[in-house]
Structure formats: C-alpha cells, structure tokens
C-alpha cells in the first residue's frame, strides 16, 4: 500500500494524525499533553520526512524513530518553537544560538565529505547535498532542504479559499497550473458543484501545456549537464515557444491566475497549427538526440532506481514511471477518451527518465489537440461549505496532493504534499554506483522542486 502523506492537525484537546494511503486513510488521536506516536518508517522509509516535519510543526514526538533531527528548522531556529500550533502567532523569529546539524556521514580510511550548497553554482534553487566520497565514487548522499521554507501552511490559515489562491499558485512556479487545479477541485467539492466539460478541457489543456514547457526545459538541461550544450539551445527555444503560448492563453508566462471558472474563446486554426509545428520540432529533436552515442553513454545505467526501491520509497510521477511503476493521476476516463497513453520505462536510469519525458511531451501535444474546443462557458461558484477536502493532480513532476479543512468559511488547516517531497527521499539510493560528476545529471533527470518541497 503506497503512502501518500502523513500529517497532523490541532484539535481542541488533541492532535489528530492523518495518514493517507492509496485508497485508504487512517486517523489517530493523541493527547496534547503527551503527544507520542509510533513511526511508520520501518514499512515506509518516506514516512521519515513526514514525521520529522510533524515534530517541527507541532512538537509531536515520534517515540521509536531512529532519526530525531529537525527537518524544517535549521541551525539558528529557536528551540521548542512549533509554529503550526494555533497559539503561535509571532510574525518574526529571533535567531537562536547556532546548533550544528549532524549529517549522515560514512567515515573510514580515505573517505572524505563534500558539502554542496545551499547556494549552487548555476541558476538553481537552494538546497544542501552532503556527499561521503571514496575518491570519485559516491558512498552516500544526504539531501537536506527547507532553506526556502516560507511558512505557507501557517500563512494560509484564516483566509478564505478564494483569497488563498494567489499564494497557492505561487508555491512552485513550475507547477502553478497543477496547484491551481488542486485548488479548483477543492473549491468544487466545497461548493458541491460539477465542472462543465468544456472548462475541464480548457484546464486540462493548460496542464498539458505546463507539462510540455517543463519537460522541454529538462530535455535541454539533462544533455547540457552531460556536456552537450546544443540540445539546451534547441530545447530551450521550444520551451520558450510553449511559454509564449501560455502567455497568450492566460496572460502570464507561468499561468499564474490562469485557472478560472470562465472559458474564453480560442482561435482553433492557429492553435492546431502551433501544435502541429511543435510536434514536428519535437520529432526532429528526438531523431537527432537519439543518434548521439556519446550522450547515451552518459545516460545509460546512470542513476538507476530499481523497481523494487521505487516501490519501497513510495516514489511518484516521472521517477516512478521510469522505474516501471504504472501510476499516473491522469489515468481516468476523461483523459483516456482524449488520447492519454501512460508512458512507461523500465530502466530506472537517466536514459529512462529522459525517454519518458520525450514520450510524455508527444502524448501531451496529442491530447492538447483533442482538448481544443470553441466555447465560452461561464460558471458561478456557490457558497463554499465547511468540511475536510482532499484533491490530487498529476503535475509535471508527479502526483500532487492537497488537503484543506474549512471551518466557518475560513481555512483551518492547509496541507500540500508536492511530488518532490517523496521523490527527494529516494534520490540518495539512485547514485550509489556512480561518480560525483554524475550527480548534476541524475539530479536534473528527476528535476524535483525545492520551493514546493519546502513550502
């Protein structure tokens, strides 16, 4: 049973721990005076971050866990401060005395540590990677994040769902449409309304366009990290073309504010022409790139995640599908009717993730063509009713999960689990047979979000 998320919320006298599995949900209550729970990490290694976060957020103690280090709170974070507790209302924090973080390290004759980050050499988001090296070979890697933690869960409490939207669409710039779709589904659940088919199509079109942009960017950056810059020039041109289309359709290059309950007419002919041209360009890119042996020499067998490990670590999205797990939130009747074909690879290496992205771009373009429709439906949203709501969306990285509790019309608890949150935890097992020079390549082939992970 796949673990999707594990999080806590504060009730009047207790904390409620919610564990969401594929097709099942478990609730457990613990007393606020002695909030002690047992770890799930023995069955699900990906529970570790969820549980460490729960301790930082609420002070819940995970009794039998082997990793009691803070996760979100870093060296200078004040001790015994749990910001998600309702009583915590401070707007600023005072830096506490520096308490060093103890990294997981392998020691031994000739083994040395390489610390990378949080600020990296390229134009990338901040995060820390701690390598234990035997010469060039990576023995171990610890991924440490949450430098970008903006306190979004707390920030959204007490707002209405409508007021929360500008923040939700800016949680992770690369996945903005996906975040907005999760928000949309929660709005619809709360207003007890169904989305007209034409709006469903428009939103699905934008989600696939976002996927095309993100995948094309990666299809350029992955070869670039193997020293093949020409691919970046080619693919970044295509990504820019797609981003400009996003601007035409949503008046924003990243689609911020793009998901609304109003449809606007699209000129079908130029749009179909655009899709046809892009399909042609992607095919040209594919024929060219598949024929460069020195590139595939770097891609094949690099950063392998076996099917068994991919299951064990509850991975999702591109990473999971490249390791042979057939899982995609788009596997629904609606998508299947519009030409969805689940891409999947079995290699689990950089090559598999690269080929999977290519296949998905082609499928997304084909679906976009099927989603096109001339329509100007508008929809009025009724009053939102209180309750607990959950939604899922397949972002360009993988399955996105959002849960919102609404009480008296306002957000009581906001939870979001970016696909990156689980996939980051599987990164270190991908690189145990590789050299450190392969790390950027492996990292880019997964292309996980830091902002969505850190919240």
């Amino acid at each position: 049973m796949r673990l999707i998320a594990r999080y806590a919320k504060e009730l009047e006298k207790a904390f409620e721990i919610i564990t969401v599995y594929e097709g099942e949900m478990q609730r457990e209550q613990v007393d606020k005076e002695s909030p002690i729970i047992k770890t799930l990490a023995k069955q699900h290694p990906s529970a570790i971050w969820f549980e460490r976060k729960m301790h930082d957020d609420f002070g819940i103690i995970i009794e039998d866990t082997f990793d009691k280090r803070p996760l979100v709170h870093q060296e200078r974070f004040p001790k015994d401060t749990h910001p998600l507790i309702k009583d915590f209302q401070d707007k600023t924090l005072k830096e506490a005395a520096y308490l060093p973080y103890k990294y997981e390290e392998i020691s031994g004759d000739g083994v040395f540590q390489v610390a990378v980050g949080p600020i990296h050499a390229g134009i990338i988001e901040p995060g820390h990677f701690q390598f234990s090296q035997a010469g060039e070979e990576m023995l171990h890697l610890e991924v440490r994040h949450f430098y970008k933690n903006r306190g979004i869960e707390k920030m959204l409490e007490g707002k209405t769902l409508m007021d929360a939207k500008p923040v939700i669409e800016r949680i992770s710039g690369n996945e903005s449409i996906a975040y907005q779709l999760c928000w949309r589904d929660i709005v619809l659940q709360a207003s007890r309304q169904e989305l007209p088919l034409s709006l469903q199509k428009r939103h699905a079109f934008l989600l696939e366009l976002e996927r095309v942009i993100h995948h094309l960017t990666d299809l350029g950056f992955i070869p670039n990290d193997a020293g093949f810059g020409a691919a970046l020039a080619y693919a970044s041109k295509l990504a820019e073309d797609a981003r400009r289309l996003m601007q035409t359709l949503t008046h924003h290059r990243f689609g911020f504010g793009g998901i609304t309950f109003e449809n606007t007419d699209i000129d079908l002919v130029p749009m179909q022409k655009w899709i046809g041209k892009m399909q042609e360009n992607v095919l040209d890119f594919e024929t060219w790139i598949m024929d460069i042996p020195s590139l595939w020499d770097r891609f094949d067998t690099t950063g392998t995640l076996s099917f068994k490990k991919a299951v064990k670590y509850d991975t999702v999205g591109v990473v999971a599908r490249a390791s042979g797990i057939a899982m995609d939130r788009r596997a629904t009747l609606f998508y299947l009717e519009h030409g969805f074909v689940m891409a999947h690879e079995t290699g689990g290496d950089v090559a598999a993730r690269f080929k999977l992205r290519l296949a998905e771009v082609k499928n997304s373009l084909a679906m976009m063509s099927n989603f096109l429709e001339e329509d100007d439906t508008q929809m009025e949203i009724h009053t939102l009713q209180d309750g607990e709501y959950m939604s899922f969306c397949e972002s360009s990285i993988g399955e996105l999960f959002m849960a919102v509790d609404i009480k008296e019309g306002l957000i009581e608890r906001f939870v979001v689990r970016d696909p990156s949150f689980v996939n980051w935890q599987a990164l270190h097992i991908m690189m145990q047979k590789d050299i450190i020079a392969d790390f950027p390549l492996i990292n880019k082939s997964c292309d996980l979000s830091y902002a969505g992970n850190d919240l």
Binding site: I119, A233, F254
Partner: protein, 168 residues
C-alpha cells in the same frame, strides 16, 4: 546528424530585440570611463535565490535561450559570489536562507551591488509576512536597483539590468 545541420541552417539566427545591442553600446560608451576598471567591459552576476517560487530563476535561465542570448551583451551569470560584481537577489529572504545570503554578499569583492529581482524581495508579492520570512531585503542589505514583475519577463530583466548600469 545531417538533418540537424539542414534544419540549423534553415532556422538561422533567432535572437530578438536587437535594440538592446544599440542601447547597450550607448550605455557602454556613456559609463565606459567610470566602469572600465570595475567591470573590464563586462558585468558578472551571481544569482541568489532566497526563497522564491522558482519562476524568477526560470526566467533567468530563459535569458540564455536563443531568443534572448544575454551573453552577447557582455552580461553573464557566474558560479561564485567571488567572481561577481552584482548579486541578483530573488525570493522572500526566508529565515533559513538569510544567513546564507549574508554569507554570499560578504564573499563578493568590492565594489559590489545588489539588484533585487521580482516582487518577493520587495515584499510586494501576494505572500504575507510570516515567522519564516525576513523580506523586504532592503531592511537587511543595501539594494541599488529593483527589477519589478512576478516574475519579470526576460526582456524586462534585460531592460532592468540596463537601467541599473545607467544608475551607477
């Protein structure tokens, strides 16, 4: 491979906005005397993300795609603050990133400047001040210039950089 070269020749040069070349030539001439020693004819930027949504970074990456090709103007992104004239700061200055931003700034050789990029470091994005956010950046660091936008488009970033060069 032959297909690729055929296509390459057919496509030609895609770079847009040649007016930037002209503007830059003018500015270069204008400020040549003052920055000759400081910049040696080119401007090195260290991008630091202090807690953004990654859209500003994506737009900075887009600056090197064939349409914008920023490096033709002699402006380029460097891998270390020690190589940089300018820090391009995006994001909300999160509590966790603040000490690292200071660190990067300390490592930059004098003379140095900071340009803030996007609404976040100016605290104008829809995010609200919370315990985890230290923005606006100007409360903590000397900011010379601000490039607004959420995120600013690549063209706006280039124009913002030119505006900065006019300022100093």
């Amino acid at each position: 491979m032959i297909q690729f070269w055929n296509k390459r020749i057919k496509l030609g040069i895609l770079t847009e906005n040649p007016e930037h070349d002209e503007a830059f030539k003018l500015i270069q001439k204008e400020i040549k005397e003052r920055v000759k020693k400081k910049f040696a004819g080119s401007l090195a930027i260290r991008m630091v993300d202090s807690g953004s949504c990654n859209a500003c970074e994506a737009e900075c990456n887009a600056l090197s795609n064939p349409y914008y090709d920023l490096e033709r103007l002699g402006i380029y992104f460097v891998a270390s603050p020690r190589h940089a004239d300018v820090m391009l700061l995006s994001g909300l200055m999160t509590f966790n990133m603040t000490p690292h931003v200071f660190d990067a700034y300390r490592q930059m050789p004098e003379p140095k400047w900071i340009i803030t990029l996007g609404e976040c470091p100016a605290m104008k994005s829809p995010f609200e001040n919370s315990f985890a956010i230290n923005a606006p950046a100007e409360d903590h660091l000397p900011i010379t210039h601000h490039i607004p936008g959420c995120p600013p488009e690549p063209k706006e970033i280039i124009e913002g950089l030119l505006a900065f060069l006019r300022k100093i």
